[in-house]
Amino acid sequence: MSNQLVIKNARIIDPASNTDMHGSILIKNGKFAKIIEGEIELPEGATVHDAQGRIIAPGLVDLRVFTGEPGREYRETLKTASNAAAAGGVTSALIMPDTNPVLDDAALIDFVARRARDTAEINFYPAAAISKGLEGQDIAEFGLLKEAGAKAFTDGRNSIQNPALLKTAFTYAQNFDMPIIHHVSDANLTGSGVMNAGLLATGLGLKGIPHIAETIPLDRDVQLAEATGVRYHAAQISCAKSAEIIARAKKHSKRISAGISINNLCLNENDIGDYRTFFKLAPPLRSEDERQAMIAALVDGTIDVIHSAHDPQDMEGKRRPFAEAVDGAVGLETMLSAALRLVHEEQIDLISLLRTMSTNPADLLGIDAGRIQKGAPADFIEIDLDYPWVVSENDLKSRSQNTAFEGARFSGKVTATFVSGTKIYELADA
């Protein structure tokens, strides 16, 4: 008998087809074979998974995941990242090129793809560097990198400052029909800033990062994207003015989009409190007003994608005075639960939220994921919308525990994760 799996008694949510129904799913050989309302006739020999009325949604697609492989395996390997992703419902992730060595060579893309295939259970897609060595000087070999399997070009944590290089990169990426994902941050305006510029930073005696450090390079990028026609994704925006720039650009172009880190949607600068370095992030956590503006931009479709900005850092990097601490927080395991807060607070409806974490990022990469549709790979998750839990860094599956949600009380969690029809994660007491 062929490999068949039936999911019964499920609330099936497929953002791609705007479906939200009670039904059943038949999976054959790792692909969705039948999705129907109500009961399904059980084929002989099929395995049955009873969803107990919980949500079945497409596996999440995360566009911003840093790992330490190769070069900093003590922070995270592809295997540990995969375990964390599975527990968070992420079935496909774009790996940032900020490794050691940098993913700027076809041979390294090939290496990472093979390591992922051999050691990880979720789908990892490598993103290749825009500039060689992430140095912002010369463009990398986009054509050869694409052939080796790169799905997008990005300089990861780095932001390219030279507009002439960006113009060349955008033009050349367009030549190979590949998306550019760019984190915008003006180096000079950021200067030695370490948190959002404002009263709080002044009170803490910390140097501030103004909004214009984001909006000016974003405006530049959007103009370059319009001039070159490249598929451009602003990796992560954090303030209302940036959302305005993206909204304006979208009136003229369907090839411009924007993402946001889950941190900027669910946290604000007040969380930094007494110099808590786990909240030192890039872009910095902004004011509550800006956070609300970001939620509004997510709801009205200006922001297309939520990502985890999963960035494992060892304790040495974080146990330092605030200004000297490294940026970043892990996020694969908490992204969905944190985002569900917005649903529980009735700020956004569930299907729209899931779209920004599955269908939209999958479409941006051009990968066959992010949808529950006949013929598509059966990458999906089961969600208990009201499951109560408290984040404890000791329970995290990531090799690094630098979470910005330590002690957070969440309602809702992934209770099972499937990749190509195979269960790779199940919550123990669900």
């Binding site: 060689k132 000087q137 010369d138 463009i139 990398a140 070999e141 986009f142 054509g143 050869l144 060349t168 033009t171 050349y172 367009q174 030549n175 070159t228």
Partner: protein
């Protein structure tokens, strides 16, 4: 009737500054005249005395051994007194302006000055300051008319015509004077022009200069009669227009696999000097479809024709 009188009267230009200044009749006149020069060059005694007693100065502000030699041989075969100005050791190094150089040379009463200069428009500027004829041997990224003429002559000798042929020009179009002159000439002669390059090597407005623009080489070569490769300026391109020469070669280097998309009898051209393994596979450069060395031969013929046409015309006027 001596051999100094022109065969044709169609050519009435004083200078050859660019293909843009020529009409199709003038182009054909030059090609026909060049055809007779091929015969002269292939004789054991290559002397023709049409330019006996005339003075030709080759003024190359940019080094080019090939083009300078080609013009030198062309002038000498016509009997002219040819002088090569070594600009790198001349007064230009001492701060003399282009116009001062022109005025000084003009005072020596030459009949023709052949000029190459790194700045677009410099040759035209010089032509306005001298009384003699001026031939543009390449100005910046603007024009290289004798290259386009020798390419046209080579094509015509192989295909019997220019009209209706599909000619694909591939490489750094943005920085190529060869591409500009060739596109103008081929368009004037009703060939079907194509350019093939990564977007970073396509200049703004190229769609108005070439009939078709391709970024995919296989598509661009489909059914081409002529494949014309351009030289990649490695030091200028790498890291800026293209990430590396190996990537360029993979997507835009002419190899057997890509050439298979062109017509089976397509000819392969290159203005030289070639970067083997960068824009062209060495095996293709040396194969029997390659007409690259023939281009060099046609270069002398075309330059003889240009020099003779300009100076003979001069005599008629005088």
């Amino acid at each position: 009737m001596t051999n100094t009188s022109p065969r044709h009267n169609a050519f009435s230009q004083k200078h050859l500054l660019g293909i843009a200044d020529l009409n199709p009749v003038e182009i054909v006149e030059l090609l026909d005249r060049a055809e007779t020069m091929v015969k002269v060059s292939r004789q054991q005694k290559k002397a023709k005395h049409t330019l006996a007693g005339r003075t030709q100065i080759n003024l190359f502000f940019e080094n080019s051994t090939r083009t300078q030699s080609s013009f030198e041989i062309a002038g000498k075969r016509l009997g002219a007194d040819v002088l090569n100005m070594a600009v790198s050791t001349s007064s230009v190094k001492k701060g003399e302006t282009l116009i001062d150089t022109a005025t000084t040379l003009n005072a020596m009463q030459p009949d023709v000055i052949v000029v190459r200069h790194a700045s677009s428009g410099a040759v035209k500027l010089l032509s306005q300051k001298v009384g003699c004829s001026v031939v543009n041997a390449g100005d910046g990224t603007h024009e290289h008319p004798t290259q386009a003429l020798l390419d046209a002559l080579t094509i015509r000798r192989h295909k019997g015509r220019l009209n209706g042929l599909t000619v694909a020009i591939c490489g750094d179009i943005a920085n190529s004077r060869v591409a500009r002159s060739n596109l103008m000439l081929l368009n004037a002669m009703n060939a079907r022009t194509r350019v093939i390059a990564p977007r970073t090597m396509l200049p703004t407005g190229i769609e108005h200069l070439a009939a078709e623009v391709f970024t995919d080489m296989e598509e661009g070569l489909k059914d081409a009669d002529v494949v014309m490769m351009l030289r990649i300026q490695r030091e200028r391109a790498a890291g800026q227009q293209i990430p590396s020469v190996r990537e360029f070669y993979r997507f835009y280097g002419l190899d057997e696999r890509k050439l298979a998309f062109a017509k089976p009898d397509a000819i392969v051209m290159h203005p030289g000097p070639m970067n083997r393994g960068v824009e062209i596979d060495p095996a293709i450069a040396d194969c029997d479809r390659s007409v690259i060395t023939e281009q060099v031969e046609m270069g002398v013929a075309v330059r003889m024709a240009v020099l003779e046409a300009l100076l003979a015309n001069d005599e008629v006027q005088a």
